[in-house]
């Protein structure tokens, strides 16, 4: 009610303030005020209607994962899940680390060194999302005997993206390297992702 009285008062003063000459009437002001007020109301109602589609609390609650690394031998990899998406944990061999370090970073589509893509100087532990940065397929190469692509890392069968041993994009349509989630070592053989 306060708003109505207020706009009424303002409209009154506008009408008195020489509005007659410019053709702005008290009614025009009421029109604009009423429509603006309704507009604010519509936006206020629309926000929760739109926001309800964002991830709910139970979905967000599953946002961290612990992984035990002790059983993964050099050259092996495992697939687990983080935020209900695949997570690749790979124990690189010295040869794979050497291959990754030998690449001139400046020539890469998404320039990053293996050092930057691992944590705490533990270059042998490559932890990435198993989600191709093109359209979200799970690349092959984490399980034994799967196609690892031309660069010995991962290969996405959907649209043919090749990743190298640091899971960096080397060939194909994907724009970015496989995403490295935030994680930390809780001990020498365990990590906490998220």
């Amino acid at each position: 009610m306060a708003t109505l009285e207020e706009t009424g008062a303002q409209a009154h003063s506008t009408a008195e303030g020489g509005a007659g000459e410019e053709g702005v009437r008290r009614r025009d002001f009421i029109n604009i005020a009423a429509v603006s007020f309704a507009g604010v109301g519509v936006v206020a109602v629309a926000l929760p209607l739109v926001n309800q589609m964002n991830p709910s609390a139970d979905v967000l609650a599953l946002a961290s994962t612990e992984v035990d690394l002790s059983a993964i031998k050099p050259g092996q990899a495992i697939k687990t899940t983080y935020r209900s998406q695949p997570l690749f944990v790979r124990h690189l061999t010295p040869k794979e680390i050497e291959e990754a370090d030998a690449v001139d970073v400046a020539t890469l589509r998404d320039p990053q060194t293996l050092e930057q893509r691992t944590v705490g100087g533990k270059k042998e532990w490559l932890i990435t999302m198993g989600v191709c940065t093109h359209l979200g397929c799970v690349p092959l190469g984490a399980a034994e005997g799967e196609n690892r692509g031309e660069f010995g890392g991962y290969f996405c069968p959907c649209h043919g993206s090749h990743y190298d041993t640091a899971a960096r994009i080397r060939k194909g349509p994907a724009p970015k390297n496989l995403e490295v989630p935030t994680y930390s070592f809780t001990s020498d053989t365990a990590i906490l992702v998220g």
């Binding site: 964002n54 209900s84 092959l140 959907c158 649209h159 724009p175």
Partner: protein, 428 residues
């Protein structure tokens, strides 16, 4: 509605007179698809596909509403409930196969309807709005079909949802929040399945609404015809009923026969075996393909394997795919030739068939694995697709010398059928 000589609705039964004075609904139907709508007398069978599209929508609505009575939109039960429809629900197998194949048939008749419009210049003035509304229906159909395919929660459902919502992730800065918002999570899950079901149920009714607008817009200038020459007088038209209800009825019979053959003999012909495996977020099928009706657009999406200046390949592919449909909205203003029908446009006719071949090639590549030579072929075909609309059509309109048009469509009909045709003029 469209011509002054249209038959007037004159109800004879007292009940109908009573109703007409209070709610003229029968009058509305009579004027829309009854004896009150005058239609060019020379329509060929390609003009059946509008009505057939409507029939396909009705099949989808009926089978869909019934299946919703047996389906559970929850990631724990969705896959099982579809198998329950297939095995336990009385006649459930038929309803589901009719719904799945019905979607394909809907697209078959709509594609024929669209290419009919492309060849006969149906999109040209004064029918631009008919064309634009038709494209809106087409886009709504694609959204509905995509969301419907997710509901059985099989492997193709899951990965299709992931790939298609991933398209939005390609948009710079806001892409990822949009993708998460669409899915209600970081990957397709219960939230996505539920909202897709809700929207899949809603959109067909939106389509039905836009169809009413489509027909309304059509009835203002009246239907086009194979000569592209506008109706000049009562001798050029026949009433929709009984002439075209009969002709469309015959077409509907053929349509239903072909539909029944597919439904009762190879009902899985157009499906993917992978979708009979329950969704597994940890394993991607070796070869993800959408349903066949998306293949040409999927091929355009995948044709971009290279960055262009600062635009990444992924974004380019997404832009090109949406542009390939968006472009069609500008077609009435890209093709500036005043002659509508391809029959009187010798150059246009050749390029029209090249376009048809091009779209078929794109379709084939879209269904093939992402490897050479298909990538290269789809790049060439995608480039040609855009060139057809943006370069070739405007150029043809400039340089083509059209054949002489008949004085009226009745003249064209009589020239074709001679005296016999003249004798068959209905005494309307």
């Amino acid at each position: 509605m469209s011509f002054p000589w249209a038959n007037e609705y004159t109800p004879k039964a007292p009940l109908m007179q009573w109703l007409d004075e209070r709610l003229p609904l029968p009058r509305f139907v009579y004027n829309a698809v009854g004896g009150g709508y005058p239609v060019p007398r020379n329509l060929n069978y390609f003009w059946n596909f509008g009505v057939l599209s409507g029939l396909a929508l009705v099949i989808q609505l009926v089978t869909g509403i019934i299946m919703a009575m047996h389906y559970g939109a929850n990631e724990l039960v969705a896959f099982g409930s579809v198998e329950h429809v297939m095995r336990d629900v009385n006649s459930g197998w038929m309803l589901r196969y009719a719904h799945a194949n019905g979607a394909s048939f809907f697209f078959i008749v709509v594609y024929l309807h669209i290419f009919r419009g492309l060849f006969f210049g149906s999109y040209k003035a004064p029918r631009e709005m008919v064309w634009l509304l038709g494209l809106v229906i087409f886009v709504l159909m694609m959204a509905t079909a995509f969301m419907g395919y997710v509901l059985p929660w099989g492997q193709m459902s899951y990965w299709g949802a992931k790939v298609i919502t991933g398209l939005f992730g390609a948009i710079p800065v806001v892409g990822e929040p949009i993708q998460t918002w669409l899915l209600g999570g970081f990957a397709p899950g219960n939230a996505a399945l539920n909202r897709f079901f809700s929207l899949h149920y809603l959109l067909p009714f939106v389509i039905a609404g836009v169809i009413i607008l489509h027909i309304w817009a059509l009835h203002i200038p009246g239907s086009s015809n194979p000569t592209g020459v506008e109706v000049k007088g009562p001798q050029d038209t026949v009433p929709f009923h009984p002439y075209y209800t009969a002709k469309d009825g015959f077409g509907a019979g053929i349509f239903l026969i072909v539909f029944a053959i597919l439904l009762f003999y190879p009902p899985n012909y157009m499906g993917h075996p992978d979708n009979y495996i329950e969704a597994n977020p940890l394993s991607t099928p070796a070869h993800i393909v959408p349903e066949w009706y998306f293949w040409p657009f999927y091929a355009i999406l995948r044709a971009f394997t290279f960055d262009f200046f600062f635009v990444p390949a992924k974004l380019l592919g997404v832009i090109a795919m949406f542009a390939s449909i968006g472009l069609m909205f500008f077609l009435p203003w890209l093709d500036t030739s005043p002659v509508r029908s391809g029959h009187y446009r010798p150059m246009f006719k050749k390029f029209f068939w090249i376009l048809v071949a091009d779209v078929l090639i794109l379709g084939y590549c879209g269904g093939a694995p992402a490897a050479e030579p298909f990538v290269m072929i789809s790049q060439v075909a995608a480039a040609y697709y855009f060139a057809h609309f943006l370069i070739i059509l405007p150029l043809i309109a400039m340089f083509e010398k059209p054949l002489p048009l008949p004085g009226s469509l009745t003249e064209a009909v009589l020239a074709k059928h001679g005296e016999h045709g003249a004798a068959a003029v209905p005494a309307e």
